[in-house]
């Protein structure tokens, strides 16, 4: 029996995530419309929007994955409700601090806040420390949440079991559900990158409060920044995968997926690959040791094996020539995996050093990460939200709007992403508030991208209304 309190907290997460998502999409559309000269924003306003858009998106889809994993983990182990609530409160406070530092203080160093830019790009002096403190508040809340979930799993499973190492011997006596294995691998990765964020913040605060007496090394800080930023953005996808491993077969009316020796090996290797793939962000820093650059390419390639190889094949096996009970939830999972694969292909192309030489920081970068987020991770979480909101409802969805919702998401998503990919191949820079006239396609592509993103937004609004109504009912229901 799922505790009533956990249902209510999860409902609150769902509503907050969807609300913040709608706001963040609108900020994104405004950016594309400005790039297309349809509206006129000042560069400071544009880059402030860009900073808020990036960091809010990362935050909400990370916590969406965590909330889903926490909810399902209760099936296997008892999770800490106070840790869940602390994470929720810290996330809200962190986002409000972030918005104050950006919208009011005009901090606009981008969500990657690459040193030493945070010390130079704000209109109010207090905006930089407030921004850094907002990251600290988010990080502390998330760290407590991750550690509590890891501790919960370790109370039931031994260290060897939680990593599924018993499958490396013949005839394993105990079972580790794939959900537990993937959650553990992912949470350890997240804790590691959050600890890197702690070091990063300490170094930045040291320079800020020493008033220049202590000066950081730009290359070290860049490595730390992407170790944190890339890893957390990547791990949030794996949180979604953990949910799919648990729910896809269940919703489709099929037997649960099982862990095998190579599934265990693949996911254990992922922990290493995922923590070293971030080096691909520094390919164009030629002073970085060459060994790390090559490691970056190899890790980026190999990270796709367990995640894509195992997951995609498992989905294909589950569906191929098998009667499936298709609902909106497992359709979202299925299309999400497809979007994630396509985004992964764009990512592997960009993670190839010789391609990165002509793609780095062009529109190809937002093209591929928006693919596996907007058409992958978002759909994973929407699938969970939809399934969750119907779990405790007496009424079943009439599904009248299901096809329409999916059409808006897929049609809007493809058009919005195509504009990015074509722009990337056409060498159009990313993160430009306005495009120079020498890029004749840039403004047209921006308008096309903004228009299709609006169609995608309509789909999200339909989901938002439908799911939020049910979640609000759960939130204010008396019984469990």
């Amino acid at each position: 029996m799922i505790a009533s309190r956990l249902k209510k907290i999860t409902s609150l997460w769902v509503v907050i995530v969807l609300l913040l998502f709608v706001i963040s999409i609108i900020l994104g559309i405004l950016m594309r419309l400005n790039q297309g000269d349809v509206i006129q924003l000042s560069p400071v306003t544009f880059y402030t929007d860009m900073t808020v858009h990036g960091l809010t998106m990362i935050s909400i889809w990370y916590v969406a994955g965590m909330a889903a994993v926490n909810f399902i983990m209760e099936r296997y182990v008892t999770t800490s409700k106070p840790a869940n609530i602390i994470a929720l409160v810290f996330t809200l406070i962190g986002v409000l601090m972030l918005w104050a530092s950006t919208f009011i203080g005009k901090f606009h160093a981008g969500w990657t806040f690459l040193y030493p830019l945070p010390f130079k790009e704000m209109l109010k002096a207090w905006a930089t420390p407030l921004f850094l403190f907002s990251i600290a508040v988010l990080g502390v809340g998330w760290l407590i949440w991750c550690v509590s979930l890891i501790a919960g799993m370790l109370k039931k499973y031994s260290l060897a079991q939680v990593f599924a190492w018993q499958y490396f011997r013949k005839g394993p006596k105990t079972e580790t559900p794939p959900f537990i294995l993937i959650s553990m691998i992912t949470l350890v990765g997240i804790v590691t990158c959050l600890l890197a964020a702690v070091i990063l913040l300490v170094l930045l605060f040291a320079e800020y409060f020493s008033k220049g007496a202590f000066v950081n090394d730009a290359l070290l800080i860049k490595n730390l920044t992407y170790f944190f930023g890339h890893t957390i953005a990547n791990e949030m996808l794996y949180l979604g995968l953990a949910v799919i491993y648990e729910l896809f077969a269940e919703i489709s009316g099929k037997p649960k997926w099982k862990t095998t020796w190579y599934v265990a090996l693949a996911w254990n290797c992922t922990l290493f690959f995922i923590l070293t793939a971030f080096f691909h962000h520094l390919y164009m820093d030629f002073v970085q040791p060459e060994g790390l650059q090559i490691l970056g390419q190899l890790a980026s390639y190999l990270a796709s094996l367990p995640a894509a190889g195992v997951t995609v094949f498992s989905i294909v096996v589950a569906i191929y020539r098998t009667k499936i009970n298709w609902t909106l939830a497992n359709l979202l999972f299925f299309i999400g995996v497809m979007g994630w694969v396509v985004g992964g292909l764009g990512a592997v192309i960009d993670a190839t050093i010789s391609n990165n030489f002509v793609l780095h920081n062009t529109l190809w970068v937002p093209a591929h990460f928006h693919t596996y987020n907007a058409m992958g991770n978002v759909l994973f979480s929407l699938g969970f939200f939809y399934w969750f909101s119907f779990q405790f409802s007496n009424k079943m969805d009439d599904n009248k709007l299901s096809a329409l919702k999916l059409f808006f998401l897929v049609f809007g998503g493809i058009g919005f992403l195509a504009a990015f990919y074509i722009g990337g191949a056409d060498s159009i820079p990313r993160r430009y508030s306005n495009y120079p006239d020498e890029f004749p396609l840039a403004k047209t592509l921006a308008i096309i991208g903004g228009s299709f993103a609006t169609i995608y937004l309509i789909g999200i609004l339909l989901f938002f209304v439908n799911i939020s109504k049910r979640c609000v009912k759960i939130l204010f229901s008396r019984s469990s």
């Binding site: 290359l219 190999l302 094996l305 191929y320 499936i324 990919y421 430009y432």
Partner: protein, 183 residues
């Protein structure tokens, strides 16, 4: 336009989507016998192994083409010093003093000569991206404070080449640019 990259992506994307759509349709088909996939675990093992081999081949072909190894064994005949700062590029045929940075008004290089750009930054991180006369991105490196990145390139075609900042560097990032001529 880098058509080869776009076409490669489109081919891979279309193949992947086609497989997904096909598999989806088999689950909707009325005449299926719900047999599922025979020997699924064994097939999955081979699928992963084949994927590993393809990725290894792709890596071994592309890694030697990385910019770090291009012209590594040759001596550049021309050195251009670059100091980036918010929001312009200082370029000179001589070393640039960071305390009083001054550049040359015009930079010219010969076609087919090996040029080395020694790129640094005087403030924040910048990008140093070279666009050919048709505004196609052909080479780049980062301009990082405290470090000098050495970018070697041989320009085949004469013309006016543009430099754009590709690392977000602040409110006027989008207008930070420079140029040089290849004779």
């Amino acid at each position: 336009m880098h058509y080869s990259i776009l076409v490669l992506f489109l081919i891979l994307a279309v193949i992947s989507i086609s497989v997904f759509v096909y598999v989806f349709l088999t689950s909707k088909s009325n005449d299926n016998q719900s047999t599922g996939m025979a020997n699924a675990l064994q097939k999955r093992f081979w699928f992963i192994l084949i994927l590993l081999v393809i990725l290894c081949i792709f890596a071994s072909v592309t890694i030697p083409k990385s910019p770090y190894y291009q012209f590594a064994d040759k001596q550049p005949s021309k050195v251009i010093h670059v100091a980036a700062q918010q929001f312009n590029f200082i370029m000179s045929n001589n070393a640039i003093d960071p305390k009083s940075p001054v550049g040359d008004a015009y930079i010219t290089v010969d076609a087919n000569e090996l040029v080395e750009f020694r790129v640094t930054s005087l403030d924040v991180n910048h990008g140093f991206a070279i666009y050919d006369p048709a505004f196609k991105l052909i080479a780049q490196t980062q301009a990082m404070p405290g470090y000098i990145n050495r970018l070697r390139y041989q320009f085949k075609e004469p013309g006016l080449y543009h430099i754009l900042c590709l690392e977000y560097c602040g409110m006027a990032h989008q207008v930070m640019r420079s140029y040089f001529t290849v004779k």
